[in-house]
């Protein structure tokens, strides 16, 4: 089968998203069923994504896999696609449109399990720094819901600083250094994935480390394995979900849709002070990987490509 497939993504220049795109390409190439990928990959807003989706529809693709900029803003284009029998799969975050399949990381759960681990690590009481993502972003909102749920369950935990990093390394580092400078003590840090620079900041400023929750980014995972005195946990948030989305889209085109329209990929938590977690960390560690790339480059059960294939980042017909 020679399908053409459209990809739409609205954040460029971010390691997670780059991995997602490479996973999509690798999965499409590995499946052998995709003739060409038509990728719209740029920095834009929901309206820009609507434009890209319509252009992909106009280009006549068989399926579209998108990482939605917003859960509800894209419904009109998704419905237009459905009217033309184009399969639509949203990855990473859900969309409201009925016509679409969703293969998503469970962001609320992401926020919840990391926070829960941290609060329990602190023995249920203490002061934490809460370093969120970007204000106004849907994923941040979902994670915040999870974080707040965990907070309710631990009434003696106190958030001393709450700040938006904008998912930017430099901003996060500057903020944590400011917090350290104020001299107001805190016992733990929850981050929304801007993690390795936080550890760096502690080390550079000679401040004693506190437990830190981050994502499974290569840089942070390596720190979890190697930095003396660092207690921390990585919550998985695989960028390779993009590959899963492509796999699901192909299944649907082949007439084997998944049972549920919504497939939630549950995050795992790898704490470096548990044996199981440490084993996961050691296994996943890959010092050659771009530090911004999540180490979980495959999603068993969905993706079929190899590590080499995703790193080569070649789509169908490319070499």
């Amino acid at each position: 089968q020679d399908y053409t497939m459209g990809i739409s993504n609205t954040v460029q220049g971010n390691g997670w998203r780059e991995e997602m795109i490479c996973a999509m390409k690798a999965q499409a190439a590995d499946s052998g069923m995709v003739e060409s990928l038509n990728i719209a990959h740029r920095n834009t807003d929901a309206a820009g994504q609507l434009e890209d989706l319509r252009n992909l529809i106009e280009a006549g693709v068989d399926a579209i896999v998108l990482n939605p900029a917003s859960p509800d803003a894209l419904n009109s284009a998704i419905e237009e696609a459905a009217e033309r029998d184009i399969v639509v799969v949203a990855v990473d975050q859900g969309v409201g449109a009925e016509a679409a399949y969703v293969v998503s990381n469970n962001q609320e759960e992401y926020g919840y399990i990391g926070a829960k681990w941290l609060f329990e690590e602190l023995g249920g009481s203490g002061d934490v720094v809460y370093m969120r993502g970007a204000a106004g972003a849907a994923a941040d909102d979902d994670r915040n819901a999870g974080f707040q749920r965990a907070l309710e369950e631990h009434p003696d935990i106190n958030v001393v600083h709450e700040v938006f990093t904008g998912w930017q390394q430099d901003q996060g580092k500057q903020q944590i250094l400011d917090f350290i400078s104020t001299g107001i003590p805190f016992d733990g840090v929850w981050t929304s994935g801007i993690d390795n620079v936080i550890v760096d900041a502690f080390l550079e400023s000679g401040t004693p480390l506190v437990p830190i929750v981050g994502a499974d980014n290569a840089g942070f995972v390596q720190q979890l394995a190697t930095v003396d005195g660092l207690v921390g946990a990585a919550v998985t948030n695989p960028g390779s979900i993009g590959g899963a989305g492509v796999a699901v889209a192909l299944d649907i085109l082949e007439g084997n849709p998944p049972e549920d329209r919504i497939v939630l990929v549950q995050p795992e938590i790898w704490a470096n002070n548990t044996e199981e977690g440490m084993a996961n960390i050691e296994a996943a560690q890959n010092p050659n990987l771009d530090p911004e790339w999540p180490v979980s480059v495959t999603i068993p059960g969905f993706t079929t490509y190899t590590m080499e294939e995703i790193i080569a980042c070649n789509g169908p017909g490319e070499s």
């Binding site: 460029q12 795109i21 060409s36 990928l37 038509n38 990728i39 719209a40 990959h41 740029r42 920095n43 834009t44 807003d45 929901a46 309206a47 820009g48 609507l50 434009e51 890209d52 319509r54 252009n55 992909l56 529809i57 106009e58 280009a59 006549g60 917003s70 859960p71 509800d72 803003a73 894209l74 419904n75 009109s76 970007a134 204000a135 106004g136 972003a137 849907a138 941040d140 909102d141």
Partner: protein
């Protein structure tokens, strides 16, 4: 006649370019149809208004960096107030939002006049202020725009004459044509060209600048509304409209520094930029290369224009 050609040479060049791009599109996608054009027009809508607003601010000799933030305020206000509202209410909300846009722009202008701080600094500060306001109204994407409004920008009255295009042209024209013809329009150009001479010619400089920024705010509100109309919701984070608007205004022949240009050129430039985007997707160009191509086209067109202008001046 020759003078008209001379003055409009840039706009005519843009028309030619648009035409050439249309041919390219047809070549890439032989099945390109009215629906492709319709989605092009819809995509161009918020850019068109943002660019029109920016163009007016540049014409009066300033620049408005807060355009995208004002659009965000307009879009969240509309989405929040319209959620679950009836047709009557939503019509009211539309006018309210336009009024808010006018007010935001007027505040920008008044601050520039009163504080004597350069335009770019004031509007840079207001970029943050209006973004903050938008976030305070809605801290995550949400709300709901009245369905009839969402419907308004879809479809076409005639094939190849999409509603969105009509809305853009009518929206800009309804505001700008009467102003351009009035003393205010002249005053805007005069202040942009030479504020001292304008003052000595009896122009109310402060009033003119405030008015121009208010118009910019009004266009931004229209842009924000169309943004909400196309997505159906309100988004507090400003989209990528600021630099795009400056680029389209300048591509469209509006001279930074003020006094020279119009709104037709910038609107054509918006269509051209959107069509380039569409062509790149239709041609399935590698996404990394698309960025390069977009940049090259932007630079290339202006370079070509610049070189041609230099040539013609020499001969």
């Amino acid at each position: 006649m020759i003078r008209v050609l001379r003055n409009q040479a840039w706009v005519l060049g843009l028309v030619g370019l648009l035409f050439a791009l249309a041919l390219v599109t047809k070549a890439i996608q032989p099945t390109y149809s009215a629906s492709g054009f319709e989605s092009l027009a819809r995509a161009a809508l918020p850019f068109a208004f943002a660019t029109a607003g920016m163009a007016v601010a540049i014409l009066v000799g300033g620049i408005d960096l807060s355009v995208a933030s004002m659009m965000a305020v307009a879009s969240v206000t509309a989405a929040v107030l319209m959620e679950g509202a009836g047709v009557g209410t939503s019509i009211g909300v539309v006018f309210l939002v336009l009024g808010i846009g006018l007010a935001m722009g007027a505040i920008n202008g008044a601050l520039i006049v009163v504080t004597k701080v350069p335009d770019i600094v004031v509007t840079l500060a207001m970029l943050y202020v209006w973004e903050g306001v938008a976030l305070l109204i809605l801290n995550a994407p949400g709300g709901q725009v009245a369905p009839w409004l969402q419907q308004l920008i879809r479809g076409s009255v005639l094939p190849w004459v999409p509603n969105a295009l009509i809305l853009a042209v009518v929206g800009v024209a309804i505001v700008w044509v009467p102003i351009r013809r009035s003393k205010l329009g002249l005053a805007i150009y005069a202040v942009g060209s030479d504020p001292l001479a304008a003052y000595r010619s009896g122009v109310n400089i402060a009033g003119t600048r405030i008015a121009a920024y208010a118009i910019c705010g009004l266009f931004s509100a229209m842009g924000g509304l169309t943004l909400a109309m196309s997505t159906g919701i309100g988004e507090p984070i400003p989209g990528p409209y600021l630099l795009a608007a400056v680029a389209a205004a300048v591509l469209g022949g509006v001279v930074l520094g003020g006094g020279i240009g119009g709104l037709v050129g910038p609107l054509l430039a918006v269509l051209i930029l959107r069509l380039v985007r569409q062509d790149l997707t239709l041609a399935s160009v590698d996404p990394n290369v698309t960025t390069i191509v977009e940049g090259t086209i932007m630079v290339g067109v202006v370079m070509l224009g610049g070189i041609l202008a230099l040539r013609s001046r020499r001969s």
